[in-house]
Symmetry: C3
């Protein structure tokens, strides 16, 4: 494959929109990009109305020129299918292509992502513009690869609650279940007489008088996820045919929950994601991230929220999903020995979409870039080249300011030594299991307002990172061979196959640590007739006793591992049936019941307590031979390709390991030096 | 009447859903229920789709079997009309039966309570399924009685703002007012030119540009309440005809405000209600119950919120409503000398529907049962037998857990000595007046965000309970003979008849205590031309001077009764015209004005101050010869049938009357010993 | 002109609704009004259904009688066009006249303001009823003038998002832009492919998937504002023709933002506004007014929130707008030497529409009246004569209570010596620039949740008032001659003409002080290609460097003017290109950058810090020769006609200038005495 830049280190790029500026700026911009050390430029992301201003009337000249201008500077181009922004002429000709929100309202033209994935007419036009673009540029020597659409799911667009989606849902159910009896049985529709006697009776699960059946929600989420996968696959098929040898990726969003990323990433060469650390903390932080933490990290974002997304997207195309018998094989990118990932949009100044949009700390753009590399990124592409002077994102920053002067982020990018960041594998010995179906079920019935699937998952992730461990976020059905420790923080849906897979990993020597609610739910969306832990009961040697939902101010003591802890928000207890009890509840309605249990190499933590989780994980990692390095607040280590990246995310200098780390800074050290 | 179990003590039951579990569980469950000491089982609550899976195709076999299985164990059955969950085939055939929410959206199929009470086609099917069920089981020897529908008003379903209800509202108005002039006059429609010139111009009071006319709201509430009464009456008529000798009840909801419970309860044998103390505190607590209180009582609920609902539902079928000339007579249940009530659904573990759903404290299930008895319950029926393994309530507890093992609540129920709880009257000497029309008017224009009708009413109730008094909550138009003290905390609507009835009670020797806003509003929804207290002005010997709405942090001093007090949220002052002044305001814009006034045996408290209210009530109770026993926080006394129930709702041991009460505990003592 | 009362001092009036009370009250009320010292009575505000109970059937008798009754007491009458409340017969005959809210719902009949300004049929009826009323009363000797409609924009009624408005918007755009290319270019629609290829494709900017284009919002705001102006102009034309010699005004609302008041006020003789100080503080206070401040001033409102509205409405008809070439000339009222204003509705007791509605402090009604005079009011008219006994405003106070006894406000009005309040000019030497287009753009993209256009503007206003300065709020394009200091707190939209006008003012000797975001946006709604300060860059001698959005708890130090300051919420820095740096940022990402700059007599303050703003303004005022009198919290000075009004808004006595000011009090002193 020749389209990629051969390299042994991290490459950089930026997102540019030549159509937003006068043409006399194009050549200088390309030259400046090259001078800054950028290798890639992403083009045409939302340019449908410029590429096809009227039905079937294509205008290629400007994009020809833009591509050539970039190529002339030696830049490689990432082209986008512009399908996130269907033009007005298409929408007004086919208003039935619009989606409905959960309140039953049509989601109108006038911004972006205004389409229903199920709309046949929209899909036809999506294929048409993709084909036209791919025919025009698919084999252009400067074109390195493709981004499909933009940020699936952003602005709650994963699901439409009417129109085309509503019309197709019954068909999907019929294909899945075959008979109405099977559907009614799987959903438990006997409860509240929700049984259907005709496929056409089924609607999306919105506007119900009170909450809908979680099984209804779960299947609607699966259905909608499948539509996105199907939509993208149509583009991928065309791009594979018309643009051979180029990579195909999609830029996923921070903590996006509306679809199964493993399913949608299938068929891509690698995943990309859009990394906005400060906005993420302000806007997307899960419950449990309090105001004090948001203020402390306002200028950098939180290292573990960012790191989690890196480790997640590194794994969505990879052995995680391919190892479980899905119908494709991974296609490693040219310059990475394993399926890596890109940061397609990297914040390099303030964002514009959070309630508050702080200036990043000096050093933050460099730190974010280094962290992305250490977590496995092969390319980091900054958003955007120049701050827009019009429309919705006028307050958003870029590498150039509105007046074309370089921003502080520009200076930090220019100062980076890219050779400091060699490519190579991330040596994670800890797998953190993740599963969108568990997420949907968990969040459908959180039972305690202060927790969510992401909140619980990130708590375990953060505990691991605080211990200096590298983590691979992998699908709950992934091949787990090679991991010393497997952590399932919130995998509430566990069926027999998944249970068998985990058991096999343990037979292979892995230690397993489960959080509360593990294996509480069935694939149908109910609970096991035999109760939690369902098919894991023998492995874990216990059953659920009680779960407690703790409002702020209400806590539950825990004693064990030689210490005392305080659980908040959630506490569940177990009846050991073979397991030993490592910690018990002290006081309250759970007094004396088991809080942490272990059978063999499997441990379950029932209490939500950061300190307890950290203590148990430290003990398990040590036993499993994974080095434990307790880190101060805000200090993080990440390893890649024989190097270790030492990071200080604190706004003040922080002592670590005998040296003083400057605020918001990093160092790349040979791993051997560090131990 | 032979259908009830002859008894002289409290009986227990549970709510079971055999259709939710495999048939091989039915017989063991029934045997276990009997072994636990249960006498009743409630069946078929939401089973319409199983009873009639297709139009007119009835399936009785399974319910026959379920009833027989229960009967074989000596259990008596309470059957439910399944009309809260019309099946999909009915809804899709007649979508016009669906209700509209206040935002103008159709409330869709997919959960429960998806119907408009005014829908003729739905009403026809409600009668049909009720008749079919009553014909099948109405005279079955095991069938003790009937529950109509389920929890009228739950999920804000009392009122539909479109469709059938909107269509019928103008007719209802025409019947009530006769002429448009009368309507316009009653509502004061001249204000803002809202006068109607055709009946068809009138809509429900939603989606108006700014707030609608409170008179419009008031009549819409009355109209909707009447529809519910009419709907239920159709079922009652059929059940009376086809199931002679069986009781008919309905399970009302916690603090439900959407209809007049006195009107809807008419025709029932007794009221039931669904008692979920922890969810009530977390979700239904009126404004004024602060976070600290919610945390303190998170595992028991608050004694007075629960007690108030008991005392309210004990009174909705009873002399309260029958004594004022309504068209029926009470039908005492077989085993109670006075119209008592049931707790049809009693929490016995965590609920699933509040933001946080704490585990009840050890002892809470037993305490709740004992309290229910002491407040007049004849039967307490636990919800539910086994925790559901499917659908919306999968997180809700039962007497059995998901895995069929007994829950802590099960153990507490099993340990109860039912003979400790003899039946007999509740000897309340204090009547607390309650009126849904006042509630609607108060909450239409609260004027101070921190107060509401329930909040003000419960403040007075709680003050009385803190003084050790038993309280009867009775309709504001009830026969008040026999009560030593009558308290009207928030009866803002007082017309001449009501005023005369209160005056008569005072002539009969009762003391009257009124809270702020008493007699401020007219039956039409306006205020009196002559100002507050309208028709009570002579009796109370004063008129309103000023009312003050106090934001958090703004308070108003009060001096009187030998002490100083601090009012918050609300303060109103009076111009005495014959009354004496017991307390005056000190400082602020009300400085020197009357805060508490008295004429003869009538006292009015204008300031919202828990301490002041307690002081005035203590003084009035003492004068009226009602024993006053000031109780520590969390300790409560309730008397029934010669016994006194001493309760400690605190999470810690509490000293009272020389003895140490264990946390969350009760004792039944002969009343003579206590005094 | 003979219709006005010749006077040299403030006059008083009240708003009365004879149609709300029995006719036998009319004569006594009129007599009492006169006895209280009132000169004006406002009638018929919402009386359409009484004036025209059926289509074309006018009923004048009652209003004839009401006018005569007032006239008989020597009162002058202000009549209202009743168009804020179209009657049911009109709405039901023409439902297409109703407006749509931003959620896409029809805004229903049942309260007030239920119409779309663009509706042709509604407009026709508005002209018809206006003509009929004007023909009947236009030349009645007691009729002094007219109020059009009531409170344009109240209840978010400035814009309709469907129906007639949606239909007309494309036409408006075509008239403005001529070609779609021009529209697409002006809005920057290339961003996100939002380009239109047909005028009919354009909708209102609501229900978009994510935020709409700010240029789209800006033009929709302009369009809607123009509709209101057009609507009112039709009434004004008729009234001028049929009621010669009478004044025409409109009663504007507190901080109303939905339309350009300068545009809508054009053609009026003077502006009026409705002054409810306590409700304003509780309900309309901009972000930044914290809870402690709301509690402190709960019984008076905040002096500067009230004062700002006075100074704003004094200026909306005046040289501000007329001086810039608009198509009319001001028509001074008979009794004022300059275009003054009226307080058409003055609070005189508690309001009913805020979450909390406190009783005003004793003295507050008098203080509000005095302040209104000192800020330029010629007449203050109390709302309302008697508290309503029916409908939506039953909880609102009046000069008479519900029972017709005089309220505390009545007593305060009666005690006023009107001759203490001579008419004459307000001698403001400081102009504060205001611009609705800047407001719309600012609030479309606030970027920091704690700020808004009003919040930033009022911060500067309050700083000026704290320094004892009198302020004229004038349009950003006003003739600025005669002002010593011109302050542009938040004029974010600055085009070349505006820039030139400001430069001219400075050439004329004025000092200019700009707040952050000044000249950041273009008239099209984007930012300047050359960046902030666009056309002001040379004048100010700098360009924007960075802006920072500071969440609560995050602050930014500033050093300069011999002191240290702390910025919160917003901080922007500049690159000086000729300007000198008066203060620099200390610490954080802006460390060392310019926070306050000056070139010549122009100063820019980039940091949001009350103390810094106060310090800079004090320095500039002093330099400019405007006397500075630092005032204690809650004390204010306002000058008019040679007098100075010393006000104490504090709830406690406050020492000032060697004397002790009683709480909530005022004194009128000859300005000379005060110095
Ligand atoms: Zn993007
Ligand atoms: Zn129920
Ligand atoms: Zn008005």
């Amino acid at each position: 494959m020749t389209f990629n830049l051969p390299t042994d280190h991290l490459l950089l790029g930026s997102c540019d929109y030549p159509e937003h500026v006068p043409q006399d700026r194009w050549a200088p911009y390309a030259a400046q990009q090259r001078a800054l050390g950028l290798s890639y430029v992403r083009l045409a992301e939302f340019a449908w109305s410029r590429l096809e201003p009227a039905p079937g009337q294509y205008e290629w000249a400007w994009l020809d020129e833009a591509v050539e201008t970039s190529a002339a500077q030696g830049l490689k181009v990432v082209l986008c299918t512009p399908t996130a922004t269907p033009p007005a002429w298409l929408v007004r000709a086919h208003p039935e292509m619009l989606a409905y929100d959960a309140q039953g309202r049509v989601r109108e033209f006038g911004s972006r992502r205004h389409y229903d994935f199920a709309s046949p007419v929209y899909r036809e036009h999506s294929r048409r513009i993709t084909r036209a673009l791919a025919e025009r540029y698919g084999q252009h020597p400067a074109v390195a690869g493709w981004q499909t659409d933009n940020e699936f799911g952003c602005h709650a667009t994963s699901r439409s609650y009417g129109g085309a989606s509503a019309g197709r849902f019954p068909e999907w159910l019929r294909e899945k279940y075959g008979t109405l009896d099977a559907l009614n049985d799987a959903w438990g529709n006997v409860f509240w007489s929700m049984e259907y006697s005709d496929w056409a009776q089924v609607r999306p699960p919105n506007l119900t008088v009170t909450e809908p059946n979680p099984s209804h929600l779960l299947d609607y989420a699966r259905f909608a996820s499948g539509l996105i996968a199907e939509f993208q696959a149509e583009q991928v098929t065309l791009l594979r045919e018309l643009s051979p040898g180029r990579f195909i990726t999609h830029n996923f969003m921070i903590f996006e929950s509306g679809f199964d990323h493993y399913e949608v990433a299938r068929g891509l060469d690698f995943a990309s994601w859009d990394n906005y650390p400060t906005g993420m903390l302000e806007f997307f932080a899960p419950p449990g991230v309090n105001e004090a933490l948001k203020t402390r990290y306002a200028r950098t974002g939180h290292p573990d929220l960012v790191g989690f997304n890196h480790d997640l997207y590194r794994g969505v195309v990879g052995r995680g999903v391919w190892a479980v018998g899905k119908d494709s094989t991974p296609q490693p990118t040219a310059h990475s020995p394993q399926p890596g990932f890109w940061v397609m949009e990297q914040q390099c100044g303030p964002v514009n979409w959070a309630p508050y949009n702080a200036l990043p700390a000096p050093g933050a753009t460099a730190l974010w870039t280094a962290q992305a590399w250490a977590h496995g990124a092969d390319t980091v592409s900054y958003f955007r080249w120049r701050a827009a002077t019009m429309a919705q994102e006028v307050m958003h920053s870029g590498l150039l300011r509105h007046d074309e002067t370089p921003s502080p982020g520009h200076a930090e990018v220019g100062a980076l030594d890219q050779t400091q960041f060699p490519l190579g594998p991330v040596p994670a010995k800890v797998a953190l299991l993740h599963d969108y179906e568990s997420l949907w079920l968990y969040d459908a019935q959180p039972h305690a307002a202060g927790l969510s699937y992401w909140a619980q998952t990130v708590t375990y992730y953060s505990a691991l990172r605080s211990l200096g461990a590298d983590v691979a976020v992998v699908h709950a059905d992934a091949d787990l061979s090679g991991y010393a420790v497997v952590v399932a923080p919130a995998v509430t849906l566990v069926g027999p196959e998944r249970a068998a897979r985990w058991a096999a990993a343990m037979e292979g020597g892995a230690h397993l640590v489960c959080g509360p609610r593990t294996a509480f739910r069935t694939p149908g969306g109910g609970t096991w007739e035999g109760g939690q832990f369902g098919p894991l009961s023998d492995l874990l040697g216990a059953r659920l006793s009680l779960y407690d939902s703790l409002r702020p101010g209400l806590t539950q003591g825990v004693s064990g591992l030689g210490a005392s802890f305080e659980a908040h928000t959630w506490a569940e207890s177990y009846r050991p049936l073979g397991a030993q009890v490592l910690a018990t509840y002290a006081g309250g309605p759970l007094n004396g019941e088991a809080a942490v249990i272990r059978r063999g190499q499997a441990t379950v933590i029932g209490a939500h307590s950061e300190a307890l989780i950290g203590a148990v994980l430290a003990e398990v990692l040590t036993t499993a031979g994974v080095p434990v390095t307790p880190l101060p607040e805000g200090v993080r280590l990440s390893r890649r390709a024989g190097q270790v990246l030492v990071q200080n995310w604190n706004p003040e200098p922080t002592e670590w390991n005998g040296r003083m780390l400057p605020p918001v800074s990093f160092q790349v050290l040979p791993e051997a030096d560090h131990a």
